[in-house]
Subunit: 130 residues, 2 copies
Amino acid sequence: MTNNGRNLGRIIKQRRNTIPLTLREVSKMSGVSSSHLGRIERGERFPSAHILRRIAKPLGFDERQLFTFAGYLSSSSTEVTEAEPEYTTARLDPYVAKVLAQEPMEVQRSVIAILTTLKSIAKGLQTEND
Amino acid sequence: MTNNGRNLGRIIKQRRNTIPLTLREVSKMSGVSSSHLGRIERGERFPSAHILRRIAKPLGFDERQLFTFAGYLSSSSTEVTEAEPEYTTARLDPYVAKVLAQEPMEVQRSVIAILTTLKSIAKGLQTEND
DNA sequence: ATTATAATTCGCCAAATGGCAAAATGTCAA
DNA sequence: TTGACATTTTGCCATTTGGCGAATTATAAT
Protein backbone atom coordinates (compact mmCIF):
# COMPACT_ATOMS: atom_id res chain seq x y z
CA MET A 1 0.00 0.00 0.00
CA THR A 2 2.86 2.36 0.78
CA ASN A 3 0.28 5.05 1.58
CA ASN A 4 0.95 7.08 -1.53
CA GLY A 5 -0.93 4.43 -3.41
CA ARG A 6 -3.68 6.92 -2.65
CA ASN A 7 -2.42 9.26 -5.32
CA LEU A 8 -2.06 6.59 -7.93
CA GLY A 9 -5.50 5.31 -7.02
CA ARG A 10 -7.04 8.72 -7.46
CA ILE A 11 -5.47 9.13 -10.85
CA ILE A 12 -6.74 5.77 -11.98
CA LYS A 13 -10.22 6.33 -10.62
CA GLN A 14 -10.51 9.75 -12.16
CA ARG A 15 -9.50 8.40 -15.52
CA ARG A 16 -11.98 5.58 -15.32
CA ASN A 17 -14.81 7.92 -14.40
CA THR A 18 -13.84 10.31 -17.14
CA ILE A 19 -14.06 7.73 -19.88
CA PRO A 20 -16.41 6.49 -18.25
CA LEU A 21 -16.19 2.83 -17.37
CA THR A 22 -17.37 0.65 -14.49
CA LEU A 23 -14.99 -1.44 -12.44
CA ARG A 24 -16.54 -4.50 -14.00
CA GLU A 25 -15.87 -3.28 -17.50
CA VAL A 26 -12.26 -2.50 -16.75
CA SER A 27 -12.05 -5.88 -15.12
CA LYS A 28 -13.32 -7.57 -18.25
CA MET A 29 -10.90 -5.66 -20.45
CA SER A 30 -7.86 -6.12 -18.25
CA GLY A 31 -8.52 -9.47 -16.66
CA VAL A 32 -7.95 -7.99 -13.22
CA SER A 33 -10.67 -8.68 -10.68
CA SER A 34 -12.98 -5.76 -10.05
CA SER A 35 -12.58 -6.06 -6.31
CA HIS A 36 -8.88 -5.63 -6.67
CA LEU A 37 -9.34 -2.69 -8.99
CA GLY A 38 -11.61 -1.09 -6.43
CA ARG A 39 -9.05 -1.53 -3.69
CA ILE A 40 -6.37 -0.04 -5.89
CA GLU A 41 -8.50 3.00 -6.64
CA ARG A 42 -9.16 3.72 -3.02
CA GLY A 43 -5.55 3.17 -2.08
CA GLU A 44 -5.99 -0.03 -0.10
CA ARG A 45 -3.69 -1.96 -2.41
CA PHE A 46 -0.74 -0.92 -4.46
CA PRO A 47 -0.85 -2.45 -7.93
CA SER A 48 2.03 -4.68 -8.91
CA ALA A 49 3.80 -3.96 -12.16
CA HIS A 50 1.96 -6.78 -13.88
CA ILE A 51 -1.42 -5.42 -12.86
CA LEU A 52 -0.41 -1.91 -13.84
CA ARG A 53 0.60 -3.17 -17.24
CA ARG A 54 -2.73 -4.83 -17.80
CA ILE A 55 -4.89 -1.86 -16.89
CA ALA A 56 -2.83 0.74 -18.75
CA LYS A 57 -4.35 0.25 -22.16
CA PRO A 58 -8.01 -0.14 -21.15
CA LEU A 59 -7.72 3.17 -19.33
CA GLY A 60 -5.82 4.88 -22.12
CA PHE A 61 -2.64 5.39 -20.17
CA ASP A 62 0.85 5.40 -21.54
CA GLU A 63 2.52 2.40 -19.94
CA ARG A 64 5.77 4.06 -19.02
CA GLN A 65 4.07 7.14 -17.72
CA LEU A 66 1.97 5.02 -15.41
CA PHE A 67 5.01 3.09 -14.24
CA THR A 68 6.82 6.29 -13.50
CA PHE A 69 3.84 7.59 -11.62
CA ALA A 70 3.76 4.44 -9.55
CA GLY A 71 7.44 4.86 -8.73
CA TYR A 72 8.48 1.74 -10.56
CA LEU A 73 10.45 3.62 -13.16
CA SER A 74 12.58 6.58 -12.23
CA SER A 75 11.39 9.72 -13.92
CA SER A 76 14.82 10.37 -15.39
CA SER A 77 14.45 7.14 -17.28
CA THR A 78 11.33 8.43 -18.94
CA GLU A 79 12.92 11.64 -20.06
CA VAL A 80 15.77 9.99 -21.87
CA THR A 81 13.71 8.32 -24.56
CA GLU A 82 11.31 11.15 -25.09
CA ALA A 83 12.78 12.70 -28.22
CA GLU A 84 10.10 15.33 -27.84
CA PRO A 85 10.72 19.04 -28.33
CA GLU A 86 10.93 21.23 -25.26
CA TYR A 87 7.31 21.51 -24.44
CA THR A 88 7.64 18.42 -22.30
CA THR A 89 5.49 20.04 -19.67
CA ALA A 90 3.15 21.46 -22.30
CA ARG A 91 1.84 18.22 -23.70
CA LEU A 92 -1.72 17.51 -24.66
CA ASP A 93 -2.98 14.24 -23.31
CA PRO A 94 -3.81 12.01 -26.32
CA TYR A 95 -7.05 10.84 -24.78
CA VAL A 96 -8.13 14.40 -24.08
CA ALA A 97 -7.30 15.35 -27.63
CA LYS A 98 -9.31 12.47 -28.99
CA VAL A 99 -12.40 13.26 -26.96
CA LEU A 100 -12.27 16.97 -27.66
CA ALA A 101 -11.71 16.46 -31.36
CA GLN A 102 -15.08 14.79 -31.59
CA GLU A 103 -16.81 17.97 -30.47
CA PRO A 104 -17.90 20.75 -32.79
CA MET A 105 -15.59 23.73 -33.00
CA GLU A 106 -17.77 26.00 -30.87
CA VAL A 107 -17.78 23.48 -28.06
CA GLN A 108 -14.02 23.19 -28.20
CA ARG A 109 -13.67 26.94 -27.95
CA SER A 110 -16.21 27.17 -25.19
CA VAL A 111 -14.21 24.72 -23.17
CA ILE A 112 -11.26 27.05 -23.32
CA ALA A 113 -13.42 29.99 -22.39
CA ILE A 114 -14.70 28.13 -19.35
CA LEU A 115 -11.19 27.15 -18.38
CA THR A 116 -9.98 30.73 -18.61
CA THR A 117 -12.87 31.94 -16.51
CA LEU A 118 -12.32 29.29 -13.87
CA LYS A 119 -8.67 30.19 -13.66
CA SER A 120 -9.39 33.83 -13.00
CA ILE A 121 -11.93 32.85 -10.37
CA ALA A 122 -9.39 30.54 -8.76
CA LYS A 123 -6.88 33.36 -8.72
CA GLY A 124 -9.35 35.50 -6.82
CA LEU A 125 -9.98 32.74 -4.30
CA GLN A 126 -6.30 32.19 -3.72
CA THR A 127 -5.53 35.78 -2.77
CA GLU A 128 -8.56 35.68 -0.53
CA ASN A 129 -7.23 32.67 1.37
CA ASP A 130 -3.74 34.00 1.98
CA MET B 1 8.54 -17.22 -9.54
CA THR B 2 6.67 -17.71 -12.81
CA ASN B 3 9.30 -20.24 -13.87
CA ASN B 4 10.79 -18.05 -16.61
CA GLY B 5 12.32 -16.00 -13.87
CA ARG B 6 15.12 -18.40 -14.72
CA ASN B 7 16.02 -16.38 -17.76
CA LEU B 8 15.98 -13.08 -15.99
CA GLY B 9 18.05 -14.59 -13.22
CA ARG B 10 20.67 -15.85 -15.64
CA ILE B 11 20.94 -12.44 -17.22
CA ILE B 12 21.42 -10.78 -13.88
CA LYS B 13 23.91 -13.33 -12.65
CA GLN B 14 25.97 -13.16 -15.80
CA ARG B 15 26.13 -9.40 -15.58
CA ARG B 16 27.21 -9.51 -11.98
CA ASN B 17 29.96 -12.00 -12.68
CA THR B 18 31.14 -9.98 -15.64
CA ILE B 19 31.65 -6.82 -13.65
CA PRO B 20 32.53 -8.65 -11.29
CA LEU B 21 30.73 -8.20 -8.01
CA THR B 22 29.73 -10.43 -5.14
CA LEU B 23 26.14 -10.77 -3.99
CA ARG B 24 27.09 -8.92 -0.85
CA GLU B 25 28.47 -6.00 -2.78
CA VAL B 26 25.39 -5.70 -4.92
CA SER B 27 23.37 -5.99 -1.76
CA LYS B 28 25.25 -3.08 -0.20
CA MET B 29 24.81 -0.96 -3.31
CA SER B 30 21.16 -1.72 -3.87
CA GLY B 31 19.91 -2.26 -0.37
CA VAL B 32 18.45 -5.61 -1.37
CA SER B 33 19.37 -8.53 0.84
CA SER B 34 21.99 -10.81 -0.63
CA SER B 35 19.93 -13.88 0.07
CA HIS B 36 17.12 -12.46 -1.98
CA LEU B 37 19.49 -11.52 -4.76
CA GLY B 38 20.80 -15.04 -4.77
CA ARG B 39 17.34 -16.49 -5.08
CA ILE B 40 16.53 -14.13 -7.91
CA GLU B 41 19.64 -15.18 -9.79
CA ARG B 42 18.82 -18.84 -9.56
CA GLY B 43 15.20 -18.25 -10.48
CA GLU B 44 13.66 -19.13 -7.14
CA ARG B 45 12.15 -15.69 -6.81
CA PHE B 46 10.90 -13.24 -9.36
CA PRO B 47 12.00 -9.71 -8.53
CA SER B 48 9.27 -7.15 -7.99
CA ALA B 49 9.43 -3.93 -9.93
CA HIS B 50 10.79 -2.09 -6.93
CA ILE B 51 13.63 -4.54 -6.47
CA LEU B 52 14.40 -4.51 -10.17
CA ARG B 53 14.59 -0.74 -10.07
CA ARG B 54 17.09 -0.82 -7.22
CA ILE B 55 19.46 -3.31 -8.75
CA ALA B 56 19.40 -1.83 -12.26
CA LYS B 57 22.01 0.85 -11.70
CA PRO B 58 24.49 -1.14 -9.59
CA LEU B 59 24.55 -3.73 -12.35
CA GLY B 60 24.75 -1.19 -15.14
CA PHE B 61 21.41 -2.04 -16.68
CA ASP B 62 19.09 0.33 -18.45
CA GLU B 63 16.00 0.44 -16.31
CA ARG B 64 13.45 0.13 -19.05
CA GLN B 65 15.35 -2.61 -20.80
CA LEU B 66 15.37 -4.63 -17.63
CA PHE B 67 11.68 -4.00 -17.07
CA THR B 68 10.91 -5.10 -20.58
CA PHE B 69 12.98 -8.19 -20.10
CA ALA B 70 11.10 -9.00 -16.94
CA GLY B 71 7.83 -8.65 -18.80
CA TYR B 72 6.71 -5.66 -16.80
CA LEU B 73 6.81 -3.33 -19.76
CA SER B 74 5.56 -4.44 -23.13
CA SER B 75 8.30 -4.32 -25.71
CA SER B 76 6.14 -2.24 -28.03
CA SER B 77 6.04 0.39 -25.34
CA THR B 78 9.79 0.74 -25.52
CA GLU B 79 9.62 1.74 -29.13
CA VAL B 80 8.41 5.04 -30.42
CA THR B 81 5.19 6.33 -28.97
CA GLU B 82 3.62 9.69 -29.50
CA ALA B 83 2.51 8.89 -32.98
CA GLU B 84 -0.67 10.76 -33.70
CA PRO B 85 -3.82 8.91 -32.71
CA GLU B 86 -6.52 7.97 -35.11
CA TYR B 87 -8.78 11.02 -35.25
CA THR B 88 -8.76 11.30 -39.00
CA THR B 89 -12.37 12.32 -39.38
CA ALA B 90 -12.62 14.51 -36.29
CA ARG B 91 -10.28 17.47 -36.07
CA LEU B 92 -8.99 19.27 -33.03
CA ASP B 93 -8.76 23.00 -33.35
CA PRO B 94 -5.06 23.92 -33.26
CA TYR B 95 -5.59 26.92 -31.01
CA VAL B 96 -7.58 24.84 -28.54
CA ALA B 97 -4.89 22.21 -28.59
CA LYS B 98 -2.19 24.78 -27.91
CA VAL B 99 -3.97 26.38 -24.99
CA LEU B 100 -4.91 23.08 -23.41
CA ALA B 101 -1.46 21.64 -23.84
CA GLN B 102 -0.10 24.28 -21.49
CA GLU B 103 -2.24 22.99 -18.66
CA PRO B 104 -1.22 20.23 -16.29
CA MET B 105 -2.55 16.81 -17.05
CA GLU B 106 -5.18 16.88 -14.31
CA VAL B 107 -6.60 20.10 -15.64
CA GLN B 108 -6.81 18.68 -19.11
CA ARG B 109 -8.68 15.69 -17.83
CA SER B 110 -10.89 17.81 -15.65
CA VAL B 111 -11.90 19.75 -18.72
CA ILE B 112 -13.12 16.58 -20.31
CA ALA B 113 -14.87 15.59 -17.13
CA ILE B 114 -16.70 18.92 -17.09
CA LEU B 115 -17.63 18.52 -20.71
CA THR B 116 -19.00 15.05 -20.11
CA THR B 117 -21.00 16.28 -17.16
CA LEU B 118 -22.44 19.19 -19.07
CA LYS B 119 -23.46 16.92 -21.89
CA SER B 120 -25.31 14.58 -19.60
CA ILE B 121 -27.04 17.54 -17.97
CA ALA B 122 -28.01 18.84 -21.37
CA LYS B 123 -29.36 15.46 -22.28
CA GLY B 124 -31.49 15.52 -19.16
CA LEU B 125 -32.83 18.97 -19.97
CA GLN B 126 -33.67 17.93 -23.48
CA THR B 127 -35.77 14.93 -22.51
CA GLU B 128 -37.40 17.09 -19.87
CA ASN B 129 -38.54 19.63 -22.43
CA ASP B 130 -40.05 17.19 -24.88
C1' DA C 1 45.33 -31.04 5.35
C1' DT C 2 43.61 -27.42 8.41
C1' DT C 3 42.06 -23.44 9.86
C1' DA C 4 40.33 -18.63 8.73
C1' DT C 5 37.55 -15.95 6.05
C1' DA C 6 34.45 -14.74 2.52
C1' DA C 7 30.40 -16.06 -0.38
C1' DT C 8 26.33 -18.42 -1.15
C1' DT C 9 22.27 -21.01 0.11
C1' DC C 10 18.59 -22.49 3.34
C1' DG C 11 14.90 -22.20 6.92
C1' DC C 12 11.74 -19.52 8.69
C1' DC C 13 8.81 -15.56 9.01
C1' DA C 14 6.20 -11.03 8.28
C1' DA C 15 3.95 -8.42 4.98
C1' DA C 16 1.72 -7.64 0.69
C1' DT C 17 -0.76 -8.97 -3.55
C1' DG C 18 -4.78 -10.48 -5.79
C1' DG C 19 -8.92 -13.65 -6.51
C1' DC C 20 -13.62 -15.37 -5.27
C1' DA C 21 -17.96 -15.04 -3.38
C1' DA C 22 -21.00 -12.82 -0.28
C1' DA C 23 -22.63 -8.48 1.66
C1' DA C 24 -23.61 -3.77 1.04
C1' DT C 25 -24.80 0.06 -1.65
C1' DG C 26 -26.72 2.54 -5.59
C1' DT C 27 -30.16 3.09 -9.32
C1' DC C 28 -34.35 3.05 -11.56
C1' DA C 29 -38.86 1.56 -13.04
C1' DA C 30 -43.47 0.03 -11.64
C1' DT D 1 -42.19 2.19 -1.16
C1' DT D 2 -40.88 -2.11 -3.22
C1' DG D 3 -38.60 -5.10 -6.20
C1' DA D 4 -35.14 -6.06 -9.68
C1' DC D 5 -31.18 -4.85 -11.34
C1' DA D 6 -26.04 -3.45 -11.64
C1' DT D 7 -22.03 -1.74 -9.14
C1' DT D 8 -18.94 -1.41 -5.40
C1' DT D 9 -17.04 -2.98 -1.04
C1' DT D 10 -15.79 -6.47 2.34
C1' DG D 11 -14.23 -10.99 4.38
C1' DC D 12 -11.47 -14.54 3.75
C1' DC D 13 -7.69 -17.05 1.89
C1' DA D 14 -3.87 -18.81 -1.17
C1' DT D 15 0.33 -17.29 -3.09
C1' DT D 16 4.38 -14.52 -3.45
C1' DT D 17 7.85 -11.39 -2.07
C1' DG D 18 11.73 -10.21 0.52
C1' DG D 19 14.42 -9.91 5.02
C1' DC D 20 17.22 -11.99 8.87
C1' DG D 21 20.20 -15.18 10.76
C1' DA D 22 22.08 -19.77 10.66
C1' DA D 23 24.05 -23.40 7.95
C1' DT D 24 26.62 -24.64 4.13
C1' DT D 25 29.96 -24.23 0.62
C1' DA D 26 33.88 -22.13 -1.74
C1' DT D 27 38.63 -19.85 -1.47
C1' DA D 28 42.89 -19.06 0.35
C1' DA D 29 46.91 -18.96 3.31
C1' DT D 30 49.81 -21.45 6.40
